[in-house]
């Protein structure tokens, strides 16, 4: 890789041992992908909590902090594994809570802004067209690339952290224009009136094209999708297909037309999604033993409008005795939801609102499943339905209002 004078200085220890080690690591990653140089980044979003990092990761961060590691660009954190206000009731391990608190303090000492959100793009930072960032959680990356026209690869925790220390990232993947062109087209003929329908589209398209560099071009939809709809679409594409980018003709900034999105190349495939395909997605979930006692609205965290919608659906209803309904969001949205009364409506109905976490990465989730004798997990998020398999849940995707009905009736259909 070709290094600038500044990068050579970092490599020589000019900005301290932590930045030096970070750049050495980034060079190895860049070499693997054939990157020719680094690009400066303006913003970093990193995943870092005790559940995903483990003791080894915490030890690593302690050592980096001791080496004087400091973020040189704005750096935020993704959703984490514990809401301290709820961890005892959720049956989470107090020893791990101590580690999580230390981890958060260590990150703050290095100037990381611990926002604990996977919807930074809705609530914290919105990069502009062509802006290079280093983000992780895949849902944040696909949103940045597609909806904002910013440029990021999937940056895993260690890689995003390295970018925070050096202020740059290797130039490969979606930082390069040639990888941002569409590769196949998807005509959307279905109505897609619920967020779960958008996740179902992401599942259908992602499962059939598991490739980071496959870039679908959506077109033909009858109205303008909302930010929350694009969020569920992107999160599911990234989850099922490992995809980092999509275009939506007339909606996303690099797709004024199909031709522009394709960059003059012919699509290798043309598919279309009608109502039947969406219905089949719902139909194909096994209901397992019929257990309807766990309903989750998480992965990604809820936006303010999702909170409002859930509040309207749960208003004057009660979660069925013995059932658990969980909503996760970030501290900013929760504060606004409290002001606006949405949180109270949900809590009055018996819904548990967890702050700063994602259900999927909750510490102690497998033992929690066993202790509660949960076998099924019902959700309106296609992403979380996909990713929770290792914890041995049977998962079922349902539309938002159906999820609320299941939570309040205890009947799974």
């Amino acid at each position: 890789m070709k290094l600038t004078t500044e990068e050579q200085s970092i490599l020589g220890g000019g900005r301290g041992a932590a930045a030096q080690r970070a750049l050495e690591y980034q060079i190895e990653v860049g070499r693997f992908w054939g990157a020719k140089r680094f690009v400066p980044v303006t913003n970093v979003h990193m995943m870092g909590d005790i559940e995903v990092m483990g003791d080894g990761g915490l030890e690593y961060l302690r050592a980096e902090a001791a080496r004087g590691a400091r973020c040189v660009v704005g750096t935020t954190t993704n959703a984490r594994c514990m809401d301290f206000a709820h961890c005892e009731r959720m049956g989470q391990d107090p020893k791990e809570a101590v580690k999580e608190r230390e981890l958060i303090a260590t990150l703050r000492r290095m100037d990381v802004v611990t926002t604990d959100t996977c919807i930074n793009y809705q609530t914290v930072y919105q990069p502009h067209l062509g802006e290079h960032v280093a983000w992780g959680d895949t849902g944040t990356v696909i949103y940045a690339n597609s909806v904002f026209g910013a440029r990021s690869n999937f940056e895993a925790g260690p890689a995003a952290f390295a970018a925070a220390l050096t202020g740059r990232t290797p130039e490969y993947g979606f930082h390069l224009s040639e990888n941002r062109r569409g590769s196949f087209t998807v005509e959307l003929k279905a109505a897609l009136n619920d967020l779960a329908d958008w996740g179902a589209v992401g599942k259908l398209v992602g499962e059939a094209h598991q490739n980071y560099y496959a870039v679908p071009v959506f077109h033909g939809y009858h109205r303008t999708p909302t930010a929350d709809e694009l969020k569920h679409l992107g999160a599911a594409l990234a989850s099922y297909g490992s995809m980092g980018m999509f275009h939506f003709v007339g909606v996303t900034p690099e797709a004024p037309s199909i031709d522009a999105a394709m960059g003059g190349v012919s699509p290798f495939e043309r598919i279309s999604i009608a109502e039947t395909e969406i219905q089949n997605v719902y139909r194909n979930y096994s209901l397992g033993d019929g257990d309807a006692r766990l309903v989750v609205f998480s992965g990604p965290q809820q936006s303010l409008f999702e909170m409002k919608h859930l509040a309207s659906l749960f208003k004057d209803r009660k979660v069925k005795a013995g059932s658990t309904c969980i909503v996760t969001t970030n501290s900013a949205i929760l504060a606004q939801s409290r002001d606006l009364g949405y949180a109270k409506t949900l809590e009055d109905a018996g819904v548990t609102i967890l702050e700063g976490v994602c259900f999927y990465i909750l510490q102690n989730l497998s033992p929690m499943r066993i202790a509660n004798r949960w076998t099924n997990m019902v959700s309106n998020s296609a992403k979380i339905v996909n990713i929770i398999g290792a914890h041995r849940f049977n998962t079922i995707l349902r539309r938002t209002a159906d999820c609320v009905d299941i939570g309040c009736s205890g009947i799974l259909k």
Partner: protein, 137 residues
């Protein structure tokens, strides 16, 4: 001797027992990160251990959390010796390099024509080649 050429590679030379999967992989979606067993219900390798194995996977699945997961399983001494992907994504590569686990992407020919689970193989990232040293008895 049978061999596979890979397109991109990182890490030192390693030898070990092959596990060849027809299904993609994520250390978060599919793996129990305390035992090293693939536990996702219905995964084609459900019940298989990846500890100390040379793992062949056609694709990578989602998951930024995978980046720390590789370091975590290495720390717990339940990591595989190498990851051999047909198509991978940046997270797998960033995670494997961070953990010091050899990783490769792109293969010719397809492993199913050359190597079976249980065969003893050598991964040479510098030469970008994987060789089958001994067939499973």
């Amino acid at each position: 001797m049978s061999s596979i050429t890979v397109a991109r590679a990182y890490g030192p030379v390693v030898e070990g027992e092959a596990v060849v999967s027809e299904e993609g992989f994520s250390p978060r979606y599919d793996l129990d990160r305390w035992t090293g067993l693939i536990t996702k219900p219905g995964h084609k390798l459900e019940g298989t251990s990846i500890v100390d194995k040379i793992c062949f996977f056609p694709t990578a699945k989602g998951g930024i959390a995978a980046g720390w997961a590789f370091y975590d399983i290495k720390w717990k001494k339940i990591a595989p010796k190498a990851f051999i992907f047909g198509v991978t994504n940046p997270v797998m590569v960033q995670g494997a390099i961070f953990a010091g686990i050899p990783i490769t992407e792109g293969w010719d020919p397809h492993p199913r024509e050359v190597v079976k689970t249980g065969d003893w193989v050598r991964v040479d990232p510098e030469r970008r080649v994987i060789e089958v040293l001994k067939r499973r008895a």
